[in-house]
């Protein structure tokens, strides 16, 4: 069997899409007073990306008249390369406006852009002095990054390899019997929630611009705020409640979200991810709250209010905070770190290890225990519930899940040490910050700020990219590009040799 793929033209299409996305912040100009000075720093990268994309697209189309056929392996490799390339390109183009307008240094602007597209929300900007157009640009990047480029692309066009790309970007669910309709439905739900979020924020007393930005970032579990003190600066119960609701929606798997919208609530409660989410919150919130009670200023209900918001923010990998994490009790910090590691729902906008994998991991431990205490010949099948129904935990799934969890934990270990070394921080702080970057959360214990050195920024940037694209695809893409490069070089070498 052969699979055809038109690599170059689809790369071109992604570049055009990114060009359009970067141009969208220009829409803010009519509403802002002095933002038009920065227009050129958006127009230049946007049109550059559009032009490059268009040229590549034309070039690729002409070539694709002789359709290239690859085997299964290289078809998979090509799709991962395309996805990684699209993301890297998006990050470069997204960083350009910050840099060219002199808002940030080169590495800082890359950091801000990556933090945007990966829906992390760590920031090196001083939001109180930044012009509005850049604030919008950041938040809009998060909104799109939450969906992913492939998802946005599929909304408009569907072609032969879209399904492969869709998988390569880490989307696991099909909601409708047609890929394009699935993505349109997801966008519809996402857009509907956005509008609802904006209205709710506005009702509880935020101005329109800030409600738009916060709704975009809460829903994509991003976490960029327009204020330095994040959501905590508003000190309003209403705003916190709205944020909690949006964060929970954002961290819910799209398929589960679809069930919620169809009011199939009994099915929703049965889904393993939802059960685990609720269970974790029930344990995490009290532990965090008791940790807070050590200091006299957070007593009684106040500590529970803070705990609810911040634990949900960590578990949903959003990263809005109402509290300063510096000097907090180790038990509270531990809860937050574990929540950040676990992360949100699989196939949602969230990051982290994902609830489903953790659930399977717990099940595997239980199964293993049961096989040990029972006769050798007894069988113990394990099951878990997805939005689509009951699934059996078979060997292949166990292998994939444990590999992912192990890989995740080892990267956390290595990254923590690297960050501690480069940022000159103690190990606990470094663990917190690295887990936050790797889980695309965005809570900060104070390491990430405008004065952080380039090396530490690079470590965090790498963590964010790995975290958003689910680790393996990055390695597959890098591995395949090296392999392809080698085979190309070999071909060229052979030709030279023959001559």
């Amino acid at each position: 069997m052969e699979y055809s793929i038109s690599k170059i033209s689809s790369v071109g299409k992604f570049m055009m899409l990114i060009g359009i996305l970067v141009a969208i912040p220009l829409l803010v100009i009519p509403f802002g007073m002095q933002d038009h000075r920065f227009a050129s720093s958006f127009i230049v990268p946007a049109s550059f990306s559009l032009l490059c994309g268009f040229l590549l697209f034309l070039y690729g189309r002409r070539r694709s008249s002789t359709v290239e056929n690859f085997g299964w392996k290289s078809s998979m490799q090509h799709s991962s390369i395309i996805v990684l390339f699209a993301w890297v390109w998006g990050m470069l183009v997204g960083a350009f406006p910050f840099f060219s307008s002199g808002q940030l240094r080169l590495v800082q602007s890359l950091f801000e852009s990556i933090s945007g597209w990966t829906t992390t929300g760590l920031s090196v900007m001083d939001t109180s002095t930044t012009p509005r157009i850049f604030l919008f640009h950041r938040s809009f990047m998060q909104f799109c990054g939450g969906l992913g480029f492939v998802m946005m692309m599929n909304m408009f066009i569907q072609e032969k390899q879209s399904m492969r790309l869709y998988h390569a970007e880490g989307h696991s669910d099909k909601l409708l019997p047609n890929l394009r309709k699935t993505t349109q439905l997801i966008f519809l739900m996402y857009g509907g929630l956005l509008v609802a979020g904006i209205l709710l924020y506005h009702i509880v007393g935020m101005n329109i611009f800030e409600s738009l930005l916060h709704a975009m970032c809460a829903l994509s579990t991003g976490g960029f705020s327009t204020r330095l003190g994040s959501i905590g600066e508003y000190n309003s119960l209403g705003i916190e409640l709205v944020t909690i609701i949006l964060m929970l929606f954002g961290t819910t798997n799209f398929a589960v979200l679809f069930l919620i919208f169809r009011m199939r609530l009994r099915q929703v409660v049965r889904v393993s991810e939802v059960q685990l989410l609720l269970g974790l919150l029930c344990i995490g919130i009290p532990v965090f709250a008791f940790g807070l009670q050590r200091s006299p200023q957070f007593m009684g209900m106040e500590s529970f209010k803070l705990a609810t918001f911040n634990v949900i923010s960590a578990l949903s990998t959003t990263g809005y905070s109402t509290i300063d994490f510096r000097g907090m009790a180790p038990s509270s910090l531990g809860v937050i770190i574990i929540m950040m590691l676990i992360g949100g729902g699989i196939g949602s906008t969230a990051g982290g290890m994902k609830l489903e994998r953790v659930y399977i991991g717990i099940k595997v431990i239980a199964l293993n225990f049961r096989t040990r205490i029972n006769p050798v010949r007894s069988i113990h099948p394990g099951f878990f519930y997805k939005a689509q129904g009951k699934h059996m935990i078979d060997d292949k799934l166990i292998l994939e899940t444990t590999a992912h969890i192990l890989c995740y934990l080892s990267i956390i270990g290595v990254g923590t040490i690297l960050l501690a070394a480069t940022a000159n921080a103690n190990l606990l702080d470094a663990l917190f910050e690295f887990a936050s970057a790797f889980g695309t959360v965005g809570l900060s214990i104070g390491i990430t700020n405008a004065n952080l050195g380039n090396a530490a920024l690079l470590v965090e940037m790498f963590a964010m990219v790995l975290g958003r694209l689910e680790i393996f695809i990055v390695f597959i893409a890098i591995h395949s590009s090296i392999e392809l490069m080698q085979s190309r070089l070999q071909k060229i070498g052979n030709k030279g040799f023959k001559k």
Binding site: M1, Y3, S9, K13, R61, W72, S75, M76, I157, Q158, E159, K160, Q161, S162, M163, R164, Y166, H167, K174, L176, P177, N178, L179, R180, K181, T182, Q388, G389
Partner: protein, 160 residues
């Protein structure tokens, strides 16, 4: 690049029961042309026959389970293809679709030619791979000169 499929076309929802070679290849074709398609099979491993570009849904389940048929939205289907290799299953699912879900077009595979009569009496369209192959072989044999590079098409496209 494929342009948006037309509205008329996309509203036709096809359900395929049985993800064998035939079912999988038809599902791939419909999905590639931008149609809505869902494929059901008892065996989870059967879905590896689908191409990686397949964009429709694939559901694990027993086609004789009435709840499962409701769950996959049989009542919304415009076309049903029953292509498992068991005549009893094919017959029963096809009848359920016609009588309970009033699916407009039901096409079923008949493995054992003797049973074709049972299917036809219920207003179900059928095809029988054995008869089709026989016909084709007959054609080939009756041709005066054997053409060397003519290939028997076993992909199943003719069967549609």
């Amino acid at each position: 690049m494929q342009l948006k499929p037309q509205k008329k076309k996309s509203s036709s929802f096809t359900i395929i029961i049985g993800c064998g070679k035939l079912g999988a290849s038809i599902a791939d074709k419909i999905s590639d042309s931008g149609g809505d398609v869902l494929i059901l099979d008892k065996d989870k491993d059967a879905f590896r026959r689908l191409s990686p570009h397949y964009g429709g849904m694939s559901v694990v389940g027993d086609a004789l389970d009435l709840d499962k048929l409701k769950e996959i939205g049989m009542q919304k289907a415009a076309t049903l293809l029953v292509v498992t290799n068991d005549d009893n299953t094919n017959n029963m699912v096809a009848q359920l679709a016609v009588h309970l879900f009033s699916v407009k077009r039901v096409i079923a595979r008949v493995v054992d030619r003797d049973k074709e009569g049972i299917f036809n009496s219920k207003g179900i369209q059928t095809f029988c791979p054995v008869s089709l192959s026989q016909e084709r072989i007959g054609q080939l044999l009756s041709a005066d000169d054997p053409v060397v590079d003519q290939i028997v098409d076993t992909e199943g496209e003719d069967n549609r």
